[in-house]
């Protein structure tokens, strides 16, 4: 499991872990814009809350609400683990 201070991608985190968004590597313009619009910007703190029964998509908590994102998109979000 990734420890505090580790840099990884959002899909590496386990339920209950918190991280700060560092970078968005998504190249598809529409998807990237959608992630930004939903609040995943640099410096945002996100927490992994729930996982779908088959492991994908993953439910993250940010900005007072919950967003489910598929692993493929979470793979492209660089974060730094905070807890």
């Amino acid at each position: 499991m990734k420890k505090i201070g580790d840099k990884c991608v959002l899909s590496d985190l386990k339920v209950g872990q918190k991280a700060k968004v560092l970078r968005l590597n998504e190249t598809n313009k529409a998807i990237r814009r959608h992630l930004l619009d939903m609040g995943i910007t640099r410096g945002t703190v996100v927490a992994v809350k729930k996982v779908a029964p088959m492991g994908d998509p993953i439910d993250i908590e940010l900005r007072d609400y919950e967003l489910c994102v598929c692993k493929a998109d979470l793979d492209k979000i660089e974060v730094e683990v905070m807890g």
Binding site: C8, V9, S11, D12, L24, N25, T27, N28, K29, A30, I31, R32, R33, H34, L35, L36, D37, M38, G39, T41, R42, G43, T44, K49, K50, V51, A52, P53, M54, G55, D56, P57, D59, R63, D64, Y65, E66, L67, C68, V69, C70, K71, A72, D73, D75, K76
Partner: protein, 702 residues
């Protein structure tokens, strides 16, 4: 006066719209798309309110956002009501910052005010008003509080000064660009920001000097301007929130507790299956089919009464037949679906408003996305095993237009209950020892057909949708009966209007072709009717799957368009029997019209009828969901051609097995080859996901 109602999904927009307009709203579609458009008048006024699609932003990337932008720029509303879920203020205000960049007056309605106390949230609307630079009101659409103040505000909406939310450099650039835009352009600030984001839709305004301003500006930031601006918006929102919003300690919400059960690794699927079984049981199972029989009974009675009345007033038998067997039968067919649809829509509305529908999408997303469908696609399929019509109507629950269209076209491939008589006739007679196995095989066939068709459609027709899942997970809520009732009513009326017209016209057309010969003689034997002549002329189409030309099989297949149960009764009538005979020995009598059938051609004909164009009811429903006649015809063509190819393949292979040319072993080998091909096709799409991602070394996907 014109008003636009704008807000996120799940913000209570529809509830507010219903509250403000009562029953007078007109529902249609936005031109060219299958997204619902609702327009109504504010009660007791002639202020027109348009409910815009739920959006999170005004970017140029999705249909919903484009519709909203178009509305604002072309229909020029006087006021925009921005409805905000006050329990998710931060995310909601993102859209608000964009609306405030327009010239239009904006009223920010903080909805769900009734829930704030429960969650320990305090919002000072006057402070928020100062921060945002727009009128802010608290309302609860559910409890109907704050509505009078809202209506008052609408009638007396004020203009506020421009709110500058970005850093100095950005604001400077915006002013510079504004000055370069021609004087008669509206919403200059909005356009200026979009030009900095390199927005495709404003390309014509993006002249060289504006591009230079953007280029110079972007050198000040680490990321491109699109990301910078989004980040700046949220920084502004965080600041505004700090000054006006307080939340005391958050306890574990009820939703989290419920999700521990509903999303539990072991419990999630069994619970899902149980709920699906309930939906099936209610809508197309015992209760649903009871309502179909009940309506059919009423329509028969009504038909008899009308028939008697018409003959009493002296109308000819022909007109009598037209009215009773053409028109009333057609209308009866439409109305026959209504009770089932009501039950189904109630189930769907409850699933949606409670929030469980989002969990269903989560459960199945991983599987379904592989073939380009949504996790929610399973529900239309399950319902479709009873009847395709409510199944296709149920595809409304899928947000993505391409996934929704694909699901609508694929749902009729599941054998519905009307196709069961066909299966029991052919399987029962030609495969007496294995009829159960054969019947089951057709369902597996259907699943494979769906998967293969989905892959084909994704590759050749719907190639542009990117496969992704990004969606808000709403909290569980208790559904409002008023909301569900209105939702169901609106959907049923829409069905009757759109699908009903197709069903009615086509039923009359078939009645006409069956009742008349080309000499315009009325009440002829079926072999002399126009339909039979047409059947004769095109019977060569069916030759590759039957081994011979048969006008009887052709006519029966065409009559299946009215209702799939009619295939069997049509065959009975053509063979000179009463129309309710279903015994194989009588229908396939060796010296009768259908004596030529062998096991191979029987299975092939079954396959054709199961997968070809569905009944007019389903075709009408497809027209409603696909948004137009053109797409509907393309879908019907796809289904029929696919069915024809499949049936021909089945017969050509099957007849050769019968003649001893192929063996069962050959079949297994070919089946294995096909399976490998399918797997390769699915795998190939997976590689697209890896493109552009630099994390191969740490990837957990390999």
């Amino acid at each position: 006066m014109k008003i636009g109602l704008v807000g996120n999904q799940n913000s209570g927009k529809t509830t507010l719209f219903n509250l403000l307009t009562g029953m007078n709203a007109k529902i249609g579609n936005w031109p060219g798309v299958t997204i619902e458009k609702k327009v109504g008048n504010l009660k007791n006024t002639d202020i027109e309110i348009t409910d815009l699609p739920g959006i999170y932003s005004l970017s140029p990337y999705s249909m919903e956002e484009e519709i909203s932008r178009k509305f604002i720029f072309e229909e020029k509303p006087d006021v925009i009501i921005n409805i905000v879920d006050s329990t998710a203020l931060e995310r909601s205000l993102y859209l608000t910052t964009q609306l405030l960049e327009l010239d239009t007056k904006v009223i920010v309605a903080l909805n769900m005010a009734d829930e704030l106390e429960k969650k320990g949230i305090k919002i000072d609307e006057s402070k928020l008003e100062k921060e945002l630079g727009a009128k802010v009101l608290k309302i609860s659409a559910l409890k109907a509080t704050g509505i009078d103040e809202l209506v008052n505000e609408i009638k007396n909406a004020k203009t506020f000064a421009e709110t500058k939310i970005y850093d100095a450099k950005l604001e400077n650039a915006i002013e510079n660009i504004k000055n370069k835009l021609t004087p008669n352009v509206h919403h200059k600030r909005f356009i200026a920001v979009k030009l900095l984001e390199n927005d495709e839709r404003f390309k014509e305004l993006n002249m060289a000097d504006i591009k230079t301003i953007a280029k110079n500006l972007s050198q000040n930031y680490e990321t491109d301007l699109e990301e910078t601006i989004a980040t700046e918006r949220y920084l502004f929102i965080e600041k505004a929130k700090k000054n006006s919003f307080k939340q005391s300690i958050k306890r574990e919400s009820l939703s989290d507790k419920l999700d521990k059960v509903f999303l539990n690794k072991w419990l999630a699927f069994p619970i899902f299956v149980a709920i699906m079984f309930l939906v099936y049981y209610l809508s197309v199972g015992v209760i649903g089919s009871f309502t179909v029989d009940w309506v059919a009974g009423i329509m028969d009675l009504f038909g008899e009464k009308v028939s008697t009345f018409l003959s009493n007033v002296g109308t000819s038998e022909m007109i009598n037949s037209l009215v009773v067997q053409g028109i009333i039968a057609g209308v009866g067919a439409v109305l026959g679906f209504v009770p089932q649809l009501i039950i189904l829509f109630i189930c769907i509305s409850v699933l949606e408003t409670t929030g469980y529908m989002s969990r269903i999408a989560l459960l199945l997303d991983k599987l379904f996305r592989k073939i380009g469908l949504s996790g929610k696609s399973l529900i239309p399929f399950i319902v479709g095993s009873g009847c395709s019509v409510p199944g296709i109507m149920g595809t409304r629950i899928i947000e993505n237009q391409d996934e929704r269209e694909m699901t609508s076209i694929l749902t009729p491939f599941i054998p519905c209950s009307a196709k069961l008589p066909i299966i029991s006739l052919f399987a029962g007679y030609f495969f007496p020892e294995n009829s159960g196995l054969i019947s089951a095989s057709l369902y597996f066939f259907a699943i494979i057909v769906i998967i293969v068709s989905a892959i084909i459609m994704k590759k050749f027709i719907y190639k542009n949708t990117s496969s992704t899942y990004i969606a808000e997970l709403p909290e569980y809520k208790v559904p409002s009966i008023k909301y569900v009732a209105k939702d169901v009513f609106d959907k049923v009326v829409a069905f009757i209007k759109r699908a009903g017209s197709v069903i009615l016209i086509c039923s009359i057309a078939i009645w006409f072709l069956v009742s008349f010969s080309f000499n315009m003689e009325y009440n002829v034997n079926i072999e002399d009717s126009m339909l039979a002549s047409i059947g004769n002329k095109i019977s060569w189409i069916f030759e590759p799957m039957l081994g011979t030309k048969s006008w009887g099989a052709t006519v029966s297949a065409i009559q299946g368009l009215v209702a799939k149960e009619q295939v069997v009764s049509s065959m009975a009538v053509i063979n000179g029997l009463a129309d309710d005979i279903e015994a194989g020995e009588e229908i396939f009598s060796s010296n009768g019209v259908f004596g030529f059938f062998t096991a191979a051609s029987a299975y092939a004909f079954m396959v054709f009828n199961l997968f070809s164009a569905p009944c007019f009811g389903a075709i009408g429903a497809m027209k409603r969901e696909l948004g137009g006649t053109k797409k509907m015809l393309k879908a019907v063509a796809f289904q029929t051609i696919f069915a024809w190819l499949l049936a021909t393949l089945v017969y050509q292979i099957g007849s050769r097995i019968e003649q001893g040319i192929f063996s069962a072993a050959d079949l297994i080998v070919v089946g294995a080859i096909l399976l490998v091909v399918i797997v390769i096709l699915i795998k190939k799409d997976k590689n697209k996901e890896c493109a552009g991602c630099p994390y191969c070394a740490d990837c957990n996907k390999k």
